[in-house]
Symmetry: D2
């Protein structure tokens, strides 16, 4: 039990690079907090002109970052990931 | 060609019921319009206490509606779908 | 009556320059539409790094644009005003 | 100096009842954080069907709450104020 909890926790709290994408899942207390976070991320993305592929279900936000033109993860993705972490309150 | 165009058009403009979910994809001019739409849908969902499973990539918003407690599409999903259509300007 | 309606209509539908600010008031059907509009305007503002002074009460959004550094209306304000009009569906 | 700092601090951190309104000003690091907060507050307001009179300029959000039907502050305003504080991370 404890182990799966730890694995779960990892999947929630760290960016993973997989299939040429940076992926991370965020969980919030409720939809209000999740969508408020999405709004601030949307502003960061529009300002950088670099947009996430992302999904939401209630309090969960899954984000995938890649540089579509290059078919891989680039510095742009790491920059946006850092800003996303800041906006998540880390 | 023409046929696939028509099918494509349908998948963008009409709700489809599949796998016990109502599904529809919306395309907008840009990210600003897409996310503005998502914000108004988020408000409708929170008010109805019935939230979509949805994803976004730049100007595209894919929405799936289902009533998780019942494992099928219910009136709640149709009501939210109607409100989403209204907010999309239809 | 008719005259005040016309004046009212003007104040809602056209930008006015006053006190070195561009001002316009938008009315929507409800709060959901008003705040969806605000979200798309927020994205436009963040991208241009030029932010409005604005207020909201239910379905009404009042926007004032000025270039604080110069203490007057500049091209930046007109550019943002044009984008705001587009996002309002004009 | 110190005194004005303290007064300032109060006006930022506590709700004040004045003119039959509950008023509070929030300051954030930047526009992205301010508007993310506004989005989560918008969801809370729509859910409670009780909407704020509020304004934003860059990183500052001023909120006024009153129950328009009764012309005074009621329990609805205190409930929304509490939820707003929670969404501000307090």
């Amino acid at each position: 039990m404890k182990e799966s909890y730890i694995l779960n926790f990892k999947s929630i709290t760290m960016w993973q690079e997989e299939d040429n994408k940076l992926k991370r899942t965020f969980k919030f207390k409720d939809f209000k907090e999740a969508f408020g976070f999405m709004s601030s991320v949307a502003l960061a993305a529009e300002k950088m002109d670099h947009h996430p592929d992302w999904s939401n279900a209630y309090n969960t936000v899954k984000i995938e970052l890649t540089t579509h033109d290059e078919g891989k993860v680039t510095q742009k993705d790491h920059d946006l990931a850092n800003e996303i972490d800041r906006l998540a309150g880390e």
